[in-house]
């Protein structure tokens, strides 16, 4: 297990680079933690709000002797925010009693979600598959990557000179072709498997 609390002192000092390093390791368990809410709240919005709150409250978090204090705090905050959003929209949120919830959050914080460090072998395989995409899907994929979540799809589509639906269809195609290409090379980027298998296959 990776203890992301190693970034806490720098986070407390307002170091954004340290926050970026914390984000690289914390995003996946936090997103996984919100899975039960996928049908009831917009998880992407709840997750981003949770991450912003983690940044704001990091200076107040004190390690309690166990790993991942800030991640555990953020998991709880994300859960509470999702429940609150679901109630606000008058939707039925999945509920867990206090003890079951604590056990679940602890388990998520303790799971090994892979190294937050980029995997050069996986990156090479993805790059190879990306380069093999037909032009329009590849452009759609690259445009969204460049936008980095800071630009709405209609604006990206307009930048590419495409109608929104055309852009989205190209993006869907890129995602599907990329996944198929990676699968052919032994990379299963499904929801539970990691890149390790592919990396091992790639290693001579």
């Amino acid at each position: 297990m990776i203890d992301l609390d190693l970034h806490l002192p720098a986070l407390a000092a307002g170091d954004r680079q340290a926050f970026a390093a914390w984000l690289a390791g914390a995003e996946r368990p936090l997103r996984d933690g919100l899975r039960p809410f996928a049908a009831t709240v917009d998880v992407e919005a709840v997750l981003q709000e949770t991450l912003l709150r983690a940044w704001q409250l990091a200076p107040k978090v004190r390690p309690d002797g166990r790993p991942n204090s800030l991640l555990r705090f953020a998991l709880r905050a994300g859960h509470n925010l999702a429940v609150s959003e679901a109630r606000r929209a008058r939707r039925v949120a999945p509920t867990l009693d206090g003890e079951a919830l604590e056990r679940r959050l602890e388990a998520l914080a303790a799971l090994r979600h892979g190294s937050p460090e980029p995997d050069p072998l996986l990156r090479r395989l993805i790059e190879r598959c990306r380069a093999a995409l037909p032009q329009k899907p590849r452009l759609a994929l690259e445009a969204r990557l460049e936008a980095a979540g800071g630009e709405p799809d209609p604006a990206i589509a307009a930048r590419l000179g495409q109608r929104l639906n055309t852009f989205l269809q190209n993006f869907t195609r890129a995602r599907r072709l990329l996944a198929e290409c990676l699968a052919r090379q032994g990379v299963e980027l499904g929801l539970t498997t990691g890149a390790a298998g592919a990396a091992e296959q790639e290693t001579p």
């Binding site: 997103r31 049908a39 992407e44 997750l47 959003e85 989205l168 995602r175 929801l191």
Partner: protein, 76 residues
């Protein structure tokens, strides 16, 4: 019932990382997400999980577009 092409387009938008801002600066949900049925929302969640892993794998700092969007919000 939403036709399949419209549903796919909504799902693809909802799987992206861009989200509007609230007046108070908070992160708002995406209108396209609200137009999806429950199955489409779960599909969008799964597609986002996969997309973020790919994005993080391609990024020199291991950051997805979600992480990049959050960092950009810190800059104001």
């Amino acid at each position: 019932m939403t036709d399949p092409r419209t549903r796919d387009a909504l799902m693809e938008q909802a799987a992206g990382a861009w989200r509007p801002r609230r007046r108070d600066g908070g992160v708002s949900s995406l209108p396209a997400w609200h137009d999806l049925d429950e199955g489409g929302r779960v599909e969008a969640y799964d597609a986002a999980c996969l997309a973020r892993r790919l994005e993080a794998a391609l990024d020199s700092e291991g950051l997805s577009t979600t992480a990049r969007a959050v960092l950009a919000r810190l800059q104001g």
